[in-house]
């Protein structure tokens, strides 16, 4: 088995530089690579383009990178939970590309799967379609969306093995599997790292071929954004 293990988050993030494009998994604060984000904040890497469904909240997740003005451009589908984000966007400090959620997921998947573009009905007749090729299929207009790639994709999984195979838990899966496929280098931070052979091959979600570096996160706060009870 090829061993993908790196000893810690510092080693995992080696080579991440100013101006790079990163993909970061997660939906809201659920399934985000929080150890890697904390390290990016610490390293002070700047001028990043971040592809992530959301932008965290003001004091957690990608919100931490926004506070330090480390992000130049965000590619997301929904950013409503973050006041600093909205302020930087409306003032023009931050460039933002808002993409329908399904198109964002499929563009990441396409990037990893070697498909340069695809047609989707989502966004036809809206701002999202501006400048994009339109083609009719079965009488219905569709717009051309292109694949997304990243210098580094940083994902979070529940369990991983030394060969880089990953298993996600519940809805913390979200964008992580597609992004894992689309990074030139994919870093996986996991809650539990086990020896190759300990995971049941039938139950693996992301095959290790997509993962170049894996480490067990030191600490997971796993903050809940909207604690709602019966």
């Amino acid at each position: 088995m090829i061993n993908k293990v790196v000893t810690n988050v510092q080693e995992a993030l080696q080579g991440v530089k100013d101006g790079m494009t990163l993909m970061l998994g997660g939906f809201g604060l659920c399934g985000i690579p929080e150890n890697s984000i904390a390290e990016l904040v610490k390293k002070g890497i700047k001028n990043l383009t971040c592809i992530s469904n959301n932008a965290g909240v003001d004091d957690f997740g990608l919100g931490l990178l926004l506070q330090g003005k480390q992000i130049n451009k965000m590619i997301s589908s929904y950013v409503g939970e973050n006041d600093e984000f909205e302020r930087q966007m409306l003032s023009g400090e931050l460039e933002v590309d808002l993409i329908p959620q399904g198109s964002l997921a499929e563009r990441c998947r396409a990037g990893g799967a070697g498909i340069p573009g695809f047609f989707t009905p989502a966004g036809y007749g809206t701002e999202v379609a501006e400048g994009k090729e339109v083609r009719e299929f079965n009488g219905k207009p569709h717009i051309l969306e292109s694949a997304l790639h990243a210098d580094f994709a940083i994902v979070k999984a529940w369990k991983g093995d030394t060969a880089g195979n990953l298993i996600y838990k519940a809805t913390a899966k979200n964008f992580n599997p597609m992004m894992a496929m689309a990074g030139k280098i994919t870093i996986a931070e996991v809650e539990e790292l086990v020896p190759a052979g300990d995971l049941n091959p039938n139950e693996i979600h992301t095959p290790g071929i997509f993962v170049q570096r894996i480490f067990q996160g030191e600490r997971f706060e796993k903050r809940i954004e909207q604690r709602t009870v019966r």
Binding site: L29, V79, Q101, S103, Y124, T171, K173, R223, Q226
Partner: protein, 219 residues
């Protein structure tokens, strides 16, 4: 006039046995509380779950188990988790039978706007554009007028669109309406105690009234 719960109760009557349903954030979420007796439906949340259950009891919240509104939820027996691409394959591929979502504006030709107020509020479209572009059965749940008292049922939307010609049915605090293929809001039902005239006054787009309009029946 209905409150938000009333709107949810009326929409719940549209559920049919065997439906997979996607509920948006806000009033649509409440629909899950009023599933008619004797039918089985399954709720899909686009962040990656089918078979979404009620909110958890205090103490059993799981940070890894949320809905699209980022609220903690539970999973019912038979539930399944999946990634975002698979989730939107269900939506785009029309495997979901009913979509209920909120709106800031709806036009008489079925256009919908619900994601952006230029210069003021830019939260993003989330999954709304994918949902409205592909769903065959879309119900909009919203108040008939905005906070300023202006109609949200318009001849043309003034806000940036989420989708075009896609809304089929609207349930508001005042009425149930159908968007006609050639344009116009056909009045189907009135909220209890309201007159056609009052609904007309709150509707900027063309309201089509044919014969007697029944009152909504809410249990």
């Amino acid at each position: 006039m209905l409150n938000k719960t009333g709107i949810a109760k009326r929409i719940a009557q549209e559920l049919e046995d065997g439906f997979y349903v996607n509920l948006g954030i806000g009033i649509p979420t409440l629909v899950a509380n009023y599933i008619p007796e004797g039918i089985s439906v399954e709720f899909q949340s686009e962040n990656g779950i089918l078979g979404m259950g009620p909110f958890p009891f205090e103490g059993s919240e799981d940070a890894d188990l949320i809905n699209a509104g980022k609220q903690t939820i539970t999973a019912l027996d038979g539930a399944v988790y999946f990634d975002s691409a698979t989730s939107f394959a269900m939506i785009r591929g029309q495997h979901v039978q009913l979509t209920v979502l909120g709106a800031m504006e709806v036009s008489e030709n079925g256009d919908i706007a619900n994601w952006k107020i230029p210069g003021k509020m830019v939260k993003g479209m989330g999954g709304a554009m994918d949902l409205v572009a592909s769903a065959e059965n879309i119900i909009v749940a919203m108040m008939h007028t905005n906070k300023k008292g202006e109609s949200k049922l318009l001849k043309e939307c003034s806000l940036p669109l989420t989708g075009t010609g896609c809304v089929k049915k609207i349930v508001t605090n005042l009425a149930v309406l159908e968007v006609m293929p050639h344009g116009g809001f056909k009045l189907l039902e009135r909220a209890p105690g309201l007159s056609v005239k009052e609904i007309q006054a709150a509707t900027e787009g063309s309201l089509l009234v044919e014969g007697e309009i029944p009152e909504m029946e809410l249990s």
